[in-house]
Amino acid sequence: MGEGSELIDKIRAKARELLQGGRVDCFIGYEEGSRGRARPAFIYDPQDAERLIWDERCAHNLVTYLHQFKSPLRRGEEPPRVGILVKPCDSRSLNILFREEQIERERVYVVGVTCDGVRTNGRPQERCRRCAERVPLVYDIVMGGVPNVLGRDDYADVTKLEQMSPRERLAFWTKEFDRCIRCYACRQACPACYCFECVAEQLDPAWMGIAIDLPQKQFFHAMRAYHLAGRCSGCSACEEACPMGIPLSLLNRKVAREVEALFGYKAGQDAETPPPLATFKKEEQLPM
């Protein structure tokens, strides 16, 4: 996608320029990892901009790293300014964080890049097939070619689950959550999960306790899905991070679909529209 190595050169040049000019203290992008993988890169020095890459292996949602740049790098300084490379899905997460005032727009320089989809081990990710946005929704500069592909989420897998009986659905999630080890990779990879103390780890009161057993796991995943209502960008970072292959997007997209049906709201389209669960319409009639 894009113009291959020409695009990579453009990205590197931009990062170098931002760092040299002092516009940002750190540029977050992707670099070559080990064993043929790509991984998040943190460039502090303009000459390290050479490490940056861009290709279909760059699947991670880098917006989650903005949370670690909210505090000054050194005591007495201002919080750092950060440059970040975002795909369209990541840009939705960015809008959500701007809307929730988690990070100031002026402190982030957004290099958007158009995207035809990413792959894991050569296999196209499911979420890319469903993605309707191929150009980032927020950026200071956008790079890359005109995207070729446009996807659509028909929620077929969500509908299939909805059509089961409650018992069948319970059996389905029991089977999936059985493998969960409460490693919280899903939560940590998610840009929208940034609570200082997650309810899952709160000890007083112990909502979920420390037990890694089915009731607590069901509780955790249901609560996380609810806490993401109107805030989940559909980036699937959670599902990709899960070591046990639990289909978390099946849960989060259900909630997203209900939010859209009930409140006419899609997360991440802009940074201005108030979140649906923070507002209401007095006259609305909602099926209870």
Binding site: Y184, R187, I210, I212, E240, P243, G245
Partner: protein, 355 residues
Amino acid sequence: MQVTTREHLTAWLDGLAGHLTLIAPKTVEQRVLYRPVADSSEIAFDFARTDLPVKEHFLPPTHVLLSIEKGKEGVRLGEPSPERERVVFGLRPCDARALRVLDALFLKEPADPYYAERREKTTLVGLACREMGETCFCTSLGLAPDEAGDVDVMLTEMEEGGGEGERGRGREGGRRYAVQVMTEKGAAILGVLNLEKVEGTLPVPPAGSKTPVLEAGAWPRLFDHAYWARLADRCLSCRLCTYVCPTCRCFDVRDYEVPCEGASSGGASNGSAPGGRIERLRAWDSCMAEGYRRIAGGHNPRLTKGDRLRNRLYCKFCYYPQDYGPVACVGCGRCIAMCPVNVDVVEVLADVATL
């Protein structure tokens, strides 16, 4: 050399499953995990490495240490019921070595009774590796993919009957395994397994890489290096690596009130009323969690991800060997395969050797 066939093995395993708990690799929704199986048909014989290590059967993710009941007669402490006899089948040498690493801590006086009981009541039947996995590096830690010294019985699939490719159904049963009895416990469990004496030698194990592993005493001087913070920039601070690791073992212990059993009991859900019960749970915890080392008063000596990642690596390669003997890593490579952001311990070891 003694050999047996797949057919004989499955018959033997079926017999075992009849009178004790048989734990074996099992396919669970595209993952392979060590799970109790009812019979040999549930076993995944051809697998590279399970996604979770066998430690979950010796240090369970959650278990009850004791229970406290308050009744009319006063307070009564309840202990968990004794463990059943178990056989773990298909144990890879790295996971078996990991148990020895855990033994150095959990069986050291005073021994952890829960771990000790499970260890004592479990017979380990190993399965040597025919190939090195993409992320495997056991050989860098002085281990071998056919190391038999940590199990009670070691099985090695023979060249001519083996291989991971497609095979006709009828030939499955004919696949042959060399059988090495390593301990008396192993000899006892073999029982009626049909063995045949043949001439020949064990297959040559696959060759492995040799990443330099810095010895324990060389790590302290690197403690303040800027490398750790940079490495940890991309770390998500989840717990994935520690949970999939066969030698990571940190835990938390907390007491919880158990809701009244059964909807028809009609009693109060309040644990302090008669009939209430409190359970003391032990569950996996992780040094990678931000709050793991936070102490009363709010101080957190490992506040940053760099501190925590450095600590995890030091614990494995410096502190544990200094305190207990073995290096707390067996080169299974699960953390490498599963870390979402490619924190690669082999790459780190190579980097550290040059720092």
